[in-house]
């Protein structure tokens, strides 16, 4: 049996080696597509790398704009990656981070339009977005606990429900009266997240995302709730036997997971767009699944994994402009990386099986 949450009995360097191997295999496989598109493989990957992290000259001159852009794009993916990692730890199959993100964005966008002092407004937005995301995630968890409805399918379907809800809002009562476009009215200027580096978009939400990873790691690794989450995921029968109320743990996990995804939406509203539109998430929720798996469900690993996928996304757009290779190469890389990571996890599985067989 290959278990998702590989045990600590595998050597620590596996945590780094496996994702790196998976990413390397992915890039080799996807280079075939670049060749089919008639572009030079090394040149294309070079352009991606430069677009995501800046070229050497810019870096030497202290121009880190490209890196900050990659970080800005990574921020929502850190949150959705954490959301999925937390959920999958408890084997709550939350595929609904996309919808929870949108719910967070709506709630944050609504609260952000209320005139308030800046700090209070940002806190209120985060609280509202977290609650909204958590509430959406609670639905599939509750359906599973009470009615044994498969959480994968219900959380997936809820993505569409929330999306159409958002569309109905911004095309109807919430349409921006000034522009008349299907976008929400802008949030208050005081609620705009402060930017930390002059000339960049490195906003407060990025910092919060980077801080959220160690906090979530602490919750999972060092708290009672985290312990219950891990035991519930690894062995629900044992958890029950040990007096853990598995149903309650699943609901708490859903709340935490959904709240994290909701914060991803708040960050995009408060730090990037300052309003809500239908295309506020280009699939950040689904990327979260890839990120969580690359990170081996470790909250600390979510940060580099999110930065990698963010680099792929920003990089492939630039590569497409320069070489004509369709920008969707980034999406293929994302899917391939997930599959390759699963294959890489086999090595931990076999390790486990041989050591556990007692031969």
């Amino acid at each position: 049996m290959i278990r998702l949450e590989a045990r600590s009995s595998t050597p620590a360097w596996f945590n780094l080696a496996l994702p790196l191997a998976a990413i390397l295999a992915t890039l080799i496989l996807c280079s075939g597509l670049i060749a089919i598109a008639g572009a030079s493989i090394f040149e294309s990957y070079g352009i991606m790398l430069q677009a995501a992290f800046g070229d050497l000259q810019a870096l030497r001159e202290g121009d880190f704009y490209a890196i900050t852009e990659t970080l800005v794009r990574a921020a929502p993916m850190i949150f959705t990656g954490l959301a999925v990692a937390v959920a999958f730890r408890a084997k709550f199959w939350n595929i609904g981070a996309e919808g929870q993100l949108l719910a967070g964005a709506i709630a944050g966008g609504v609260v952000g339009t209320i005139p308030m002092p800046g700090a209070l407004a940002m806190l209120a937005m985060a609280a509202a977005g977290g609650i909204a995301g958590g509430a959406v995630a609670l639905v599939p968890a509750w359906l599973r606990v009470r009615l044994k409805v498969d959480d994968v399918v219900s959380s997936l379907l809820l993505n569409s429900v929330v999306y159409y809800g958002l569309m109905a809002l911004i095309e109807g009562p919430w349409k921006d009266p000034l522009s008349g476009y299907p976008i929400s009215p802008p949030i208050q200027d005081s609620a705009n997240f402060p930017v930390f580096l002059e000339g960049t978009r490195l906003h407060l939400g990025v910092i919060v995302a980077l801080l959220a990873a160690p906090i979530v790691w602490f919750v999972i690794a060092r708290t009672v709730l985290g312990f219950s989450i891990r035991v519930t995921g690894e062995n629900p029968e044992a958890a029950r036997y040990a007096g853990i109320r598995v149903e309650r743990v699943l609901l708490s996990t859903a709340l935490l997971s959904g709240a994290l995804a909701g914060l991803a939406g708040v960050g995009e509203v408060g730090g990037v767009h300052y309003q809500v539109m239908s295309e506020i998430s280009p699939g950040f929720g689904y990327s979260g699944i890839v990120i969580a798996m690359l990170a081996r469900l470790n909250p600390l690993g979510v940060v580099p994994a999110a930065i990698f996928l963010s680099a792929v996304m920003t990089g492939s757009a630039a590569m497409s402009r320069a070489t004509g290779v369709p920008t969707f190469l980034g999406d293929v890389i994302q899917g391939t990386a997930l599959l390759m990571m699963l294959v890489a996890l086999l090595f931990t599985g076999y390790r486990l099986r041989f050591s556990g067989a007692g031969r």
Partner: protein, 314 residues
């Protein structure tokens, strides 16, 4: 309100239900076959999209729609084989693998569509399938135009339901398939290769998903768009639950869902009151979640669903 009722009771409305149900029934049957053997295929959404793209492209360049359907079926089978390789051959998580297949296939579909048909304002189209009136039968009042003036693929789907039911319940291969999903250990003891059976079931299921995708780009519509599947694959997974893993009930579930969808489309067109059209678009999804809540998953799920099988494990 009378105008709405009138809209609903037209022949065209009932014919539309059958048309909308066709791809859903195909996809649901494909997923059902896969799950009956013990393999959940969450790759369905991406497999349908990629097949819709390859099928459309093949038809566009060959000028032969049936070649397109064949290409779509082959694509679906190939991608399902990949899913089987990971989940059956290597025993990887069916949930995560399926999501991976969907992301992978979605990326590939967009990538190759953009590569082959460079971004243009006018989307490429094909001369899509025409409805075929069955002689004599289509002359029956009311029933004729509803049931017997449909696409050939729809007739084939209608035939596929009893065929799949017979294969599943009345043939040795069907018995093996069900045993692989219900008690793989016993199947193995009886000399059945659980791995081979599951591979075959997943691949056959994938081919059906592929044809479902082809129906959308070559019969229901005449072009490929990025949103052509728009959740139909996910809904098919829910319909399998609603149809309790039985071919007849699955086909019935697809029809019921198509009814809801057709009502939704008509209400949208009629534009009653000030209800935003999104309220109707969301209806099928809410309906599906509600339907799943009513028919809880554990009711009839194959016991070995989601469980990888390894011969040497005891």
């Amino acid at each position: 309100m009378n105008a709405v009722l009138e809209q609903l009771l037209q022949v065209g409305f009932f014919a539309a239900i059958i048309r909308i149900a066709t791809p859903l029934a195909l996809a649901t049957l494909g997923e059902m076959i896969s799950e009956r053997s013990g393999v959940l295929n969450l790759g369905i959404e991406g497999i349908m999209l990629l097949s819709a793209m390859t099928g459309f492209t093949a038809a566009y360049y060959s000028g032969n729609l049936w070649l397109g359907v064949l290409a779509a079926a082959a694509t679906g089978a190939a991608m399902a084989a990949l899913h089987a390789l990971f989940t059956v051959g290597l025993g990887l998580s069916q949930h995560v693998c399926g999501i991976g297949i969907t992301l992978f296939c979605t990326g590939l579909a967009f990538f190759f569509f953009r590569l082959i048909f460079v971004d243009s304002s006018r989307p490429p189209t094909v001369e899509s399938f025409a409805a075929v009136s069955l002689p004599l039968l289509s002359a029956i009042p009311i029933l004729g135009p509803v049931l017997f003036n449909q696409f050939t693929l729809t007739y084939l789907t209608v035939i596929a339901v009893p065929v799949i039911a017979v294969v599943l319940y009345r043939t040795p291969w069907g018995l093996n398939l069900r045993m692989a999903g219900e008690n793989p250990r016993a199947a193995d003891a009886a000399g059945v290769s659980v791995m081979a059976t599951r591979f075959q079931a997943v691949i056959l299921g994938g081919a059906l998903m592929g044809v479902a995708g082809a129906f959308l780009t070559m019969a229901q519509f005449n072009t490929f768009t990025f949103g052509v599947i728009s959740g139909r694959g996910w809904i098919a997974i829910a319909l399998v639950v609603f149809g309790r893993w039985d071919p007849w009930r699955c086909a019935g579930a697809a029809l019921l869902f198509a009814f809801v969808d057709a009502v939704q489309l008509r209400l949208q067109a009629a534009g009653i009151g000030h209800i935003p059209y999104e309220a109707f678009l969301v209806l099928p999804f809410v309906f599906t979640i509600a339907a799943m809540a009513v028919m809880s998953r554990n009711a009839a799920a194959p016991p070995a669903l989601l469980k990888p099988f390894r011969k040497e494990e005891r």
